[in-house]
Symmetry: C2
Subunit: 159 residues, 2 copies
């Protein structure tokens, strides 16, 4: 049995992460996609990541287990995973995209430390932004599809 409901709160982090990788892989298999070593390694790396990661970072990560991976593969796989709603792209204005697992039920934003480049997640009350988007829709004849909201500053460790 893979869902020990009694100990769920205790297992917390690790349990969520490891099962998450399996779940994601199963979901892809069900959709008819092949589960290759690299696809698996990438999903595991993303699940294990404590922060959004860039393509070069992922390349290095995956290279440790699969020394022959090519960067092209990494980029293609990132596109593939984004297409399949497994991850989302974020931009912290340093010249390259980062990727993190997409939690379908929970849209969040980030606190980017401009000193150490550490990225924390932060939840912003939905209704605030929704109300704003509604206003914009009316005032500007513009249909909002998505938004980017990131905060930059100094984290606790650096201050």
């Amino acid at each position: 049995m893979n869902t020990p409901s009694k100990t769920l709160t205790v297992l917390a982090d690790d349990a969520l992460k490891s099962s998450s990788a399996e779940q994601l892989i199963d979901a892809l298999r069900t959709k008819g996609f092949r589960i290759t070593k690299i696809r698996q390694a990438m999903i595991e790396a993303l699940v294990a990541a404590s922060q959004p990661v860039s393509a070069p970072q992922l390349l290095e990560q995956v290279s440790q287990k699969h020394p022959s991976v090519n960067k092209t593969t990494i980029y293609r796989e990132l596109d593939f995973l984004a297409d399949n709603k497994i991850l989302s792209e974020i931009d912290i204005l340093d010249g390259m995209k980062r990727y993190e697992l997409l939690h379908p039920d929970h849209h969040h934003h980030h606190l980017v430390c401009t000193s150490c480049k550490d990225i924390q997640c932060v939840e912003v009350p939905h209704h605030d932004l929704h109300a704003l988007e509604g206003k914009i829709q009316q005032t500007h004849k513009f249909t909002v599809q998505s938004h980017v909201l990131e905060f930059f500053g100094i984290c606790g460790k650096c201050s």
Copy 2:
């Protein structure tokens, strides 16, 4: 006389723009910086721009009057103008930065049309975001210095 107060509301846009370029240049001169042809042309191009512009766009613009400008100069000058709080960078997620004049008294955000790439400005009530940043400051031990908020969607012309 350059400030015909009686007709100000009529002259509106153009008057504001042309005087703005002179003001910016004077400010730089006062600070002891040299006013070169290219610096001047870049400021004029930025003042004339109706939307945030990219470095390659500016290069083309400035090239029309100064065919020998080098892209390196454009980038260096953009850095210089940003350092001197004359312009700000924005990011519309298409792989390169854009620049627009910084209005010190008026912080705004953008509506980016994902279809035609047109960029509109939009003012977001300050207090909403300020309140949010205050909360974040307390909850996350994080000192917010700036934020990025951009909306993506479909503009009136494209819908």
